[in-house]
Amino acid sequence: MTTTTRGRKGHASADDPRVMLDEQIGVFEPIPPYPPRTEREAEFYTLRDGEMFINIGPQHPSTHGVLRIVLKIDGENVVDLDPVLGYLHRGVEKLCENADYHQAICYLDPLEYVSSLFCEWPGVMAFEKLLDVEVPRRAEYIRVLSSELNRVASHALFMGWMALDLGGLTPILWSFIERDEIVEMLASLTGQRMLFNYFRIGGVNGDLNHEFMSRLGEWMSRATTQIEANIGLLNENEIFVRRMRGLGTMDSETALRMCMSGPNLRATGVPFDLRRAHPYSVFPELEFDIPTRTEGDCLARYLVRLEEVKQSLKIIDQCLNNMPDGPIMAKLPRLLRPRPGRAYAGIEGPRGQYAAYVVSDGTDQPFRMRIHDPSYLHLQSVGLLMPGHLIADAMAVMASLDPIMGGVDK
């Protein structure tokens, strides 16, 4: 199919050299049409000699959701960047104020849609703290089991789109095969493939069933070799490793000052994992290591997540072996009215510290539901890490920080 410079039906095409772009099509200027309101805006939106702006997004396959980045480039090198958020802002915190405590859990799922159980968990934990509810042990073990499966699924997807942002088109399909198996398993447990809506205040929605256990057992028996095969596709690939090594290096001081958490922080050398630093649920009884690396570059962040997948498999194994009997939900009244107070609950999600802060005023609706998302803070670091690299490497740096725009924009 050939395209002519004339385009179709008399519309001038932008490829036509006879078209004067400014007059006929319009000026595409990422510079905002008002004077700069802050110091940083003034600093960013003034161009020096040889620099220009390029607008990435909000619709772009590499940005993990609807994110708009205004890049200031000098040739091919990125000089500075300004992320513009809000394209996926759904007002979840405001909506939760109008909802019941039970209904608010449904609003929490789509925040980090790739790892939904981790989004529900801190909300549910905060509500349980307000209501002084004790979760039965079996429910805690099921929570850990299902969420560690979700962590494996999330990291599998990370590996896929890490390679996708570097230009490799195969690993993302392998990742989705991996993820599909896990997501089907979780569907037989929770009823949903993605936005699980499984955790309840005081426990979980349904007990383990035969289908889930048989799928899980069958998957566990080949999980290790399968993951090794997927890893081998990428780790031994010279292009992948050489592109990622030394890219986007962050040291531990800067990472702590940028309030990073999770694998991004552990890749810089700080062994901070909320499951060990501030233990919750049944993690004190489980044995696992905290993978840490010191280089702080993209390759380190990727390798830390790989190691975490292996640790998750270890945790799942222990959960299956030590699963206690008992109820899966605490006995609670239908209408929940916690006494006035505040509660904060933070967990270790696949991206970092995922937390909820709830203020209760004694009614059956939360007064303030604050959700703290790690991807939001990691996106700030993109401004520190990208400058100095080429545009193509800039997208790799962004992918290695693993942001999910649903959580960033809430």
């Binding site: 802050t38 909506l95 630093a277 006035p340 303030r368 703290h372 803070l377 700030q380």
Partner: protein, 182 residues
Amino acid sequence: MDPALRRRLERRFGERLTGPIRQRHDETELRIGAGDSGEVIRALHDEPEFGFTFLADLAGVDTGTTMQVVYHFWGASTPDWLRLVVDGLPRDDPRVPSVTALWKGAEWMEREAYDMFGITFEGNRDLRRIYMPPDYQSFPLRKDFFLADDAARSPGAGVRHMEQTHAPRNATPAATIRRTRA
């Protein structure tokens, strides 16, 4: 619940606290006024007996009568989360000193609190809206901003919805703002 932490905090900050230190489950809560917030946070960050170097969360809260900024910290010296509530900010022009000098990562958290509540963080180099469009006039998470489907509480103020079918007849914003003392 860490009673040793509470004693250390009372000894160090006793005169600045605007209320008793409350502890519940694994959290310790301090309440101070806006004028003290810069010094207290710096003390919590720098002094070795506290060592709260990890800023876990920065949030704004609108209690209906006042605005608050709530910080959550994690430190290796205690098993508790530390919650610092900077209370008593006026609802028309809430201003707090910024913590971006200590944690650059707080910049975006403060931007979000500004965008959603209108709280000005003095010292933040980049205090502009982050979720809403740059020319948006209201502050959405305030209690006097009503959603269209806020049937029991909306007289139609805030977002105007075409139907306006659920507006109670005698409601005024002052009567319908939700307040709490929690």
